[in-house]
């Protein structure tokens, strides 16, 4: 991206058609200082375009902007955080406690509730991210997306920003589930480095699933269709992962699907980090990062369809 020079503009420099341009407003600084509306407020800063970021600095800046917006929204309205905590709490409390007593699922000596907790963290993060496609369609209809697409933000940077914003929201949700799990007596690690790695895993997973959703949004273009597809894919993604049971107990065909499902890698990494069970952390991180990257590319390439 080439930078546009940030040169101060004078009132007179742009008023070739306006006969009223002030003859004296030719020297940049003087004109800038004098600029104000008749009712008073100074507009001196609004005459100088900001210096454009270029190169690699664009994407982190846009990602930061989108993540801040997500946090600001959550600060104003936490109701979504509370209502979204109900379902994971029920999974852990009812499903987890019951199956812990049944001893029906082989977990290699790990209490079933402990085994289940990382899966529920991954599930609740996915449920948040998978509806970002609906959000982007809503933003299209409300004009928010249109306005963002007219800013100097490459489409890939805009999608990356949305994807990481979904990751931030998913991480906050994950914190809530971790607290619930801890209250139910799940033996989780409190090693800060491992918890940071957990956050990275949740962010990458959130980024992938939000991009999957935004990609589908770019194909189906309407909220109604996307809601149907969203509901149709979330449960198969959940049940074909290792969130509820180990991959080893699945039938062969489901094991094959599970190997293609990024949620399985997310759950594997979360179990390894939070419970210390054997995990393939490098593979898990690699698959999640690769899936997020592919998702960003796919969603970015289809974003233009939403803009039309």
């Amino acid at each position: 991206m080439s930078a546009v020079p940030a040169t101060p503009r004078t009132a007179s420099a742009e008023t070739a058609a306006a006969e009223t341009a002030t003859a004296g407003a030719t020297a940049g600084t003087a004109a800038v200082t004098a600029a104000s509306t008749p009712s008073g407020p100074s507009l001196s800063l609004l005459l100088t375009p900001p210096q454009a970021r270029t190169g690699w600095r664009v994407v982190p800046a846009r990602v930061g902007a989108m993540c801040i917006v997500e946090l600001q929204k959550l600060r104003h309205d936490r109701s979504e955080l509370y209502t979204r905590a109900v379902q994971p709490a029920l999974w852990l409390l009812i499903y987890g406690e019951t199956f812990t007593r049944l001893h029906a699922i082989p977990t290699g000596g790990t209490p079933y509730l402990d085994f289940l907790a990382p899966g529920i963290i991954a599930q609740s993060a996915m449920f948040i991210a998978i509806f970002y496609g609906i959000m982007i369609i809503w933003e299209r209809d409300a004009g928010v997306l249109t306005k963002l697409l007219v800013t100097p933000t490459p489409r890939a940077a805009l999608i990356t920003g949305k994807a990481f914003a979904a990751g931030v929201k998913a991480t906050i949700q994950a914190v809530v589930v971790v607290v619930i799990a801890a209250l139910l007596g799940v033996g989780l690690t409190w090693n800060p480095l491992k918890l940071i790695a957990v956050a990275v895993v949740v962010v990458l997973g959130g980024a992938f699933f939000s991009c999957l959703s935004m990609t589908i949004a770019g194909i189906v273009l309407t909220r109604d269709r996307l809601m149907g597809i969203g509901q149709a894919i979330t449960m198969p993604l959940f049940f074909s992962s290792s969130a509820l049971y180990p991959v080893s107990v699945m039938p062969g065909w489901l094991q094959a699907i599970s190997k293609c499902n990024p949620l399985s890698y997310q759950v594997d990494a979360l179990r390894g980090l939070l419970l210390g069970t054997p995990a393939h952390l490098w593979t898990d991180f690699g698959v999640l990062a690769g899936a997020a990257l592919l998702g960003i590319l796919a969603a970015s390439s289809l974003l233009g369809r939403l803009a039309k």
């Binding site: 007179s12 210096q51 803009a307």
Partner: protein, 290 residues
Amino acid sequence: MTTELDPATGTEPTEDQAAAVRCTGLEYAFGDTKAVDNLDLTVRTGETFGLLGPNGAGKTTAIRAITTLLPVPVGMIQVFGTDVARNKMDVRRLLGYVPQQLSADAGLTGRENVSLFARVYDVPRREREARVSEALEAVALSGDAHKLAATYSGGMVRRLELAQALVSAPRLLILDEPTIGLDPIARTSVWERITEIKNATGMTVLVTTHYMDEAEQYCDRVALMHKGRVRALGSPEQLKAGLRDSFTAPTLEDVFRHYAGSGFQGADGQSDGEDFRDVRRTRNTANRVR
């Protein structure tokens, strides 16, 4: 009118440099429907230019092409001499855009809404707070900046969107139906702010509107579009003068009717080009600002 020298070169600006927007032979079709048909249009630097026309005339398509939202398949668009098709990012830095829909984020405060745009336009952190405050002050929203945009009236939301567009110091402000659905007092308030800011900053304003009284009162020049082409172009006075043979005291609305007809579907059976989503969007916007 005085001709000013280019401050960078000290020479008289070329025709392209003096034009804020120059569309040449622009064409755009949705399937078989030609929304914009060989459009030639020039918006002069520093003027308030109104793009008028009935529903489906091609105004919004032209605006979307100028704002880089749509590709330019045929023809050329330049914004301050920069080719829109080749230098999208450079052009976007020159634009402030307020779409027809109420596009402020209801879940954020007024200040946060403007800050978001300061961030995406790379306003440095040390300057951001002051610049955002200035933009909010320019649209008289300083006192309500801490409130959620969800609590704003329609007129306040429009002013907030104006502040979002202003925070990057655009050279060209593009407004798509900025006063649709607003009551007369709010409409006047929005236009007063636009005019004040334009006069103070010298920016160029390109606006689409259905309100002929607004075009007459606030636009230096207007173009009347119909079926994708410009049918009439000039100052409101010039356009009205052209109808003096048929009317004793023609209004801009008479000019509109003269060139656009009744505005209903034509006798040739052609659609007016506006689809269901466009109508719904317009009505939703009008309903939301009430």
